[in-house]
């Protein structure tokens, strides 16, 4: 190929990627980096009005956060969401995927679409629906429980029930997405392997543990990494369903950041929260990858 051809190809390459790259730098890279810088300033409502009120304060924002009980409450709640939510969501998705993948199943596409439907619906709208489903007095959930003789639970009003209540909602909303990913992985597991185990007399549980799970281990890791990140990013759920309550039991890190930043206009402190959030997600993901490597999953 001629040099001129090469040159025009290179020019076109930069030309076609430049608009997107520029947008990414201006609206993503710069703000993300600026978050770190901002976290070392006392940017607040006064600085918003007049930039000359802005000062660098070193680690003051971080020190204040460490002393703030609500910050630790938000951290603790978010960790609970991760610890309880990840196994719950991953288990639910895997169960749904195995069900839809079952070779005995008829009308497969119908069930697949039905199970996926919650994922594409609007989060805020479904949160409003679930707030109503979980209503203590006339919610459908408590009605169903009453059929089994279980006393009404104050799902969104009791600090011990509020976090599990939101988790049930989150599980319902997101399992369809993970189910599709699991489904793709399950379809790569050779049927003969399972067949052989079946002939050897292995039951359903043994086959799951010794044949299916090892075969899809990398996907289990991928789904749990994605779910951890999703749990760290819960915001609209508590915003709509509980406003962080009762007794701050559903204040998540992002909810805390939103209030710091846009309710109290402590943008410096909010940026520090954002940066810590990033470190948390990164740390948990790295630990998962390390564990998976040691376990031979990847």
């Amino acid at each position: 190929m001629s040099t001129i051809g090469r040159q025009s190809e290179a020019r076109a390459g930069w030309g076609m990627s430049a608009p997107a790259l520029t947008a990414i730098v201006i609206f993503f890279v710069v703000p993300a980096l600026a978050s770190l810088v901002l976290s070392f300033t006392d940017f607040d409502i006064y600085a918003l009005a007049d930039l000359s009120n802005l000062r660098f304060v070193g680690f003051q924002n971080y020190e204040r956060l460490i002393e703030n009980p609500l910050f630790w409450k938000a951290m603790g709640n978010t960790l609970w969401f991760v610890v309880l939510g990840v196994p719950f969501v991953v288990g639910l998705s895997l169960f749904a995927a195995m069900l839809v993948n079952s070779r005995w199943l008829k009308w497969r596409p119908v069930w697949r679409v039905a199970l996926f439907a919650p994922y594409v619906t609007t989060l805020v709208a479904t949160a409003v629906v679930w707030r109503y489903l979980l209503h203590t007095r006339y919610g459908l959930v408590n009605y169903l429980l009453s059929l089994f003789g279980i006393a009404p639970v104050d799902w969104l009003g009791d600090p011990h029930a509020s976090l599990p209540a939101i988790l049930i909602f989150v599980g319902w909303k997101t399992f369809g997405y993970n189910m599709i990913i699991f489904l793709a992985a399950l379809q790569t597991v050779p049927r003969e392997l399972e067949e052989a185990a079946r002939i050897d007399g292995a039951g359903w549980w043994t086959r799951l543990r010794h044949v299916t799970l090892p075969a899809i281990a990398p996907t289990v890791l991928l789904v749990s990494v994605l779910t951890v990140a999703a749990m760290f990013q819960l915001f609209a759920e508590p915003y709509v369903m509980t406003q962080g309550g009762p007794a701050q039991s559903t204040v998540t890190i992002l909810y805390f950041m939103y209030e710091e930043g846009f309710k109290w206009w402590n943008l410096g402190s909010g940026a520090a929260v954002a940066f810590l959030l990033f470190l948390c997600i990164l740390a948990v993901t790295l630990v998962q990858l390390k564990l998976a490597k040691r376990g031979g999953a990847i």
Partner: protein, 271 residues
């Protein structure tokens, strides 16, 4: 054998019903008269179905305005995202230029950084640009769609180089090749990406909540959240609002689910 078939299918039907029950319930309650749903046990179907809630929603609460806002923002977000990401994805896959691979590696690394990290500085940045409280401000995050670039690039890798070379020998410019040769091949992935962006921008909540202060500019989710705070007790009304908010995306998904589900796999299972 046949018994097993029925057991598994019935189980799947039960799980599916349980999954979509909240959505069916939402639709049912939206047709109930005011106060009807606040009983125990809750009625499953409206006593005498009424459109009152929808009338009130569009009349008194002016939801038509928010619906129009959502349609406008999501449509523009989709068009802009395609204009920005499709050429870039193609360039990263098929055009040789210095620094291409290093740049792309950095983009992939950036995928792990959640967008919320930079939200506060982005707000300040847009304030300086005078874009706070405007549709333009709401659209900005969709221009920087790294995932879209990634998706288009994956798809473009399967285009044979010979095809592009042949077009070059015929004297086509790079822009002409993109428009006349590549875009027709990319149709399925463009539909997929358009659907992704439309659904995601329609459903997005946190960013429009932050950037849109003026009620007249609210998108449906932001308006619904605001309404539901004031009308906690009006369940029938809120369910109608939830129907108006979710129905467009559900219909779109059902119509184009083949594209959506296959696109999901191209994007998430990275080999």
């Amino acid at each position: 054998m046949s018994l097993r078939r029925w057991t598994v299918t019935l189980l799947a039907a039960f799980v599916a019903l349980l999954t979509i029950a909240p959505l069916l319930w939402m639709v049912s309650v939206s047709f109930m008269a005011r106060g009807e749903a606040s009983q125990f046990p809750p009625p499953l179907l409206p006593d005498s179905p009424t459109l009152d809630n929808y009338r009130m929603l569009f009349g008194t609460f002016g939801v038509g305005r928010f619906l129009a806002n959502s349609v406008l923002v999501s449509t523009l977000a989709t068009i802009l995202a395609l204009l920005f990401t499709v050429p870039a994805g193609y360039a990263f896959a098929k055009l040789r230029f210095r620094g291409r691979d290093a740049t792309f590696r950095m983009l992939v690394a950036a995928l792990v950084v959640p967008g919320q990290i930079g939200m506060l500085p982005l707000f300040l940045e847009l304030k300086a640009m005078g874009l706070v409280n405007s549709y333009a401000g709401a659209l900005v995050p969709w221009l920087a769609g790294i995932f879209g670039i990634f998706l288009v690039r994956q798809y473009c890798l399967s285009i044979p180089d010979e095809m592009l070379e042949a077009a070059r020998i015929d004297g086509a410019s790079e822009g002409q090749i993109l428009r006349r040769v590549v875009l027709p091949i990319l149709t399925p992935i463009i539909v997929t990406l358009a659907l992704f962006v439309f659904l995601a921008s329609w459903n997005d909540f946190m960013w429009p909540l932050i950037i849109l202060a003026d009620q007249n500019l609210y998108t449906l989710p932001v308006a619904l959240a605001a309404m539901s705070r004031e009308h906690v007790q009006d369940n029938e009304l809120m369910m109608a609002g939830a129907v108006v908010t979710t129905l467009p995306v559900l219909i779109l998904f059902l119509a184009l689910q083949r594209f959506y589900l296959s696109g999901l796999l191209t994007g998430s299972v990275k080999g």
